[in-house]
């Protein structure tokens, strides 16, 4: 059998993809349903001469990956709800200091310890606004293992391109389900390497001065350029500054570098949207049930389509508006109380067209759940 074809959990697909993307350092703390990521990392990384560490908690895990990234190594951590809460301070640090890294959150039911082994998609807004202060964030997701692979590589690529932490929101179903995965051949998916400065030793290097294209070349700790990194507002040398002009420029830069590149960051898939009168919008494992419904109703002649979001933040407002322009009904399918529904309502004209099909009880949302909502809309009763 072909060595590149595997039958694995989504968590393992994520590990394989991270290694493909050039991951060299992993730090983490076990938590269901993300633990298999740490376990596979512990096996795989030392075999490649790379490093794994189990830290004392999630706070230290995210701090450790930031430290490792600064020495020039691609780094990541993985966690779930409670651990993701603990990581918010470190995540804000990585945003402010512009340190590339990847944080995987395999979502489970919350709040608090919640439902450790049940699926949920209720951390979508925490991913967006868990960090204090104005900021932008990139959060990606996936609905099958091949996509987990691609989106994990995309996460590392976005982290390096925009010098920012990237969140990968998986969910319990995707993390634990076993499915076929074909590992793409080398170079089948482009990998973005660390952009290092070409400024020579002895010449003033500005770690926080964007190039013309907006990117900020880095210099590894330990090499010839010595500079300061801080979570305080800082100038182009990385030195603390409270100069209003400098602070304003920094905050604008941190948000604009993401806001102005929504097109490069956003990924989506579409099914039967051309003539769809009812558009389903979904992501992650929920999108599997949504697609099932669309195909089933299509077979019966109903004009349904699916817009599957593979990136949630920055939210692709323009894309959603365009794809929903001619829809009579828009059904957002997600396992929370309407987190993406809220964004969709903001995106489309006539937001009263938007309804939510959800489950919040720790049970995976089924095609029947969605069909019930569909029947309600169609006035058929349940």
């Amino acid at each position: 059998m072909n060595d590149n074809i595997k039958f694995v959990q989504g968590n393992e697909a994520c590990v394989e993809a991270a290694l493909y993307a050039g991951l060299e350092f992993y730090a983490g703390y076990p938590i269901t349903p993300s633990t298999e990521i740490a376990e596979h990392m512990a096996v795989r990384l030392p075999k490649l001469g790379r490093r794994f560490i189990q830290m004392e908690d999630e706070i230290s895990s995210i701090c450790a990956i930031v430290g490792a990234s600064l020495t020039g190594h691609k780094a990541m951590t993985a966690t779930s709800g409670p651990g993701f809460s603990l990581m918010q301070e470190g995540l804000g640090y990585a945003i402010m200091a512009e340190i590339p890294c990847v944080i995987v959150n395999v979502m489970r039911g919350g709040p608090s310890t919640g439902l450790p082994t049940s699926p949920s998609q209720s951390d979508v807004y925490q991913a967006r606004w868990g960090v204090h202060g104005d900021h932008a964030i990139i959060a990606l997701t996936a609905s099958n293992h091949q996509d987990v692979f691609e989106m994990t590589v995309h996460a590392f690529n976005m982290a390096e391109t925009y010098r920012t932490p990237v969140i990968l929101l998986l969910d319990e179903v995707i993390g634990h389900m076993r499915e076929r995965l074909e590992i793409p051949g080398p170079e089948a998916i482009p990998v973005v390497d660390r952009l290092r400065t070409s400024v020579r030793a002895g010449i003033d290097y500005h770690p926080y001065l964007p190039r013309e294209d907006g990117r900020l070349p880095m210099s590894d700790f330990g090499s010839e350029h010595r500079y300061n990194v801080t979570g305080l507002a800082h100038d182009m040398w990385g030195f603390p500054s409270s100069n209003p002009g400098v602070v304003h420029g920094l905050l604008r830069h941190l948000t604009d570098k993401i806001k102005n590149n929504v097109g490069n960051i956003t990924r989506h898939k579409e099914y039967y949207l051309e003539d769809a009168r009812t558009v389903l919008i979904s992501y992650g494992s929920s999108a599997r049930s949504a697609l099932h419904v669309v195909e089933h109703q299509r077979a019966r002649g109903e004009r349904l389509g699916l817009l599957e979001l593979q990136s949630l933040w920055p939210f692709p407002y323009g894309l959603v508006e365009e794809k929903c322009a001619y829809a009579r009904n828009i059904i957002v399918v997600e396992m929370n109380m309407g987190q993406i529904t809220r964004a969709v309502k903001r995106a489309v004209k006539d937001p009263e067209r938007v309804v939510l099909a959800n489950r919040i009880d720790g049970v995976f949302i089924t095609p029947t759940d969605i069909k019930n909502i569909l029947r309600l809309i169609q006035g058929k009763g349940v």
Binding site: E24, F25, A27, V43, P46, K47, G49, R51, I53, M55, E56, D57, I59, S60, S61, C63, A64, I65, V66, G67, A68, S69, L70, T71, G72, H73, A75, E89, G90, Y93, D220, F221, G222, S223, E224, R226, Y227, N228, V229, T230, G231, L232, F239, P240
Partner: protein, 268 residues
């Protein structure tokens, strides 16, 4: 290289109050680094948040000014991903042992090679004089207006019990000893802890009627003694200074190389 060559002059004057002990620590540390003849490129200084942690901005090393209490966690990522770097982690007493207490004991337990400097002024200087886990019973602070009922940690005992392979204590009055101890700590291959009693005249001094910086340093002179001295036998209340632990023990990054060997079947 002269000591001033290790400083980022561009970022002076520093933010510390007149008489603050943190400047003495900076000076003694740079003397030590200079005497060891270390290159600036091989040193990474990782600090947290506090008056003490601002030290990292003033030195011309690779410097990482992080989050309150988390310096050792960031430092662990730096060291493990590039073990050839020399990592120095100055921390405040609250930084190292309140919010950062968990990271402190776990870094010590791993025996990962880095120099943890606890700049112990027995107070939260940066936030304006609240009590810390090292203030001690009966002291005054803005959050202990009726005298503190919290007991303090003994940093030396704590570090020893947690597994640090180098543990020492000194004060800002003993600047020469500080340099010698820091040199030994920096070259030590394992987790080193150096507690430095330092003065915050602005808050601890004022609140506790200790006088100005000079009087506070005289207090360090009069209330400390070399480890195992005769004076200590006569007056057990004296605080001992010197190197308490200096032992050879497998270092964490070196140990991880063995993990790699086992994982690769010795092929790496």
């Amino acid at each position: 290289m002269a000591v001033k060559d290790y400083i980022r002059e561009r970022f002076f004057p520093h933010m510390w109050c007149p008489g603050c002990g943190h400047g003495i620590v900076l000076n003694s540390l740079l003397r030590g680094v200079e005497q060891l003849g270390m290159s600036k490129n091989e040193i990474v200084m990782v600090s947290g948040i506090g008056c003490s942690s601002r030290i990292s901005g003033y030195v011309d090393f690779h410097s990482l000014h992080t989050l309150h209490g988390r310096a050792l966690a960031f430092a662990t990522g730096v060291k493990m991903s590039k073990p050839e770097l020399n990592v120095i982690v100055p921390m405040g007493d609250g930084d190292a042992l309140a919010i950062g207490g968990n990271h402190f004991i776990h870094a010590a337990r791993r025996n990962i090679a880095m120099t943890a400097i606890v700049m112990n002024n027995r107070i939260y200087g940066m936030t304006g004089g609240q009590y810390s886990p090292l203030s001690g019973y009966g002291t005054a602070a803005t959050t202990a207006p009726y005298a503190n009922i919290d007991h303090d940690f003994d940093v030396v005992q704590l570090a020893k019990a947690a597994g640090a392979s180098f543990v020492a204590r000194t004060t800002t009055f003993h600047a020469r000893q500080m340099t010698d101890i820091l040199k030994s700590a920096i070259v030590h291959d394992g987790f080193s802890v150096v507690e430095i009693l330092t003065q915050c005249p602005t808050y601890f001094g004022r609140k506790n009627k200790m006088g100005g910086a000079a009087e506070m340093m005289e207090w360090f002179r009069d209330n400390t003694t070399p480890i195992g001295s005769k004076a200590k036998q006569e007056n057990p209340d004296l605080i001992e200074r010197g190197i308490f632990v200096q032992e050879e023990k497998q270092e964490y990054c070196a140990e991880y190389e063995n993990v790699i060997k086992r994982a690769t079947g010795g092929r790496s």
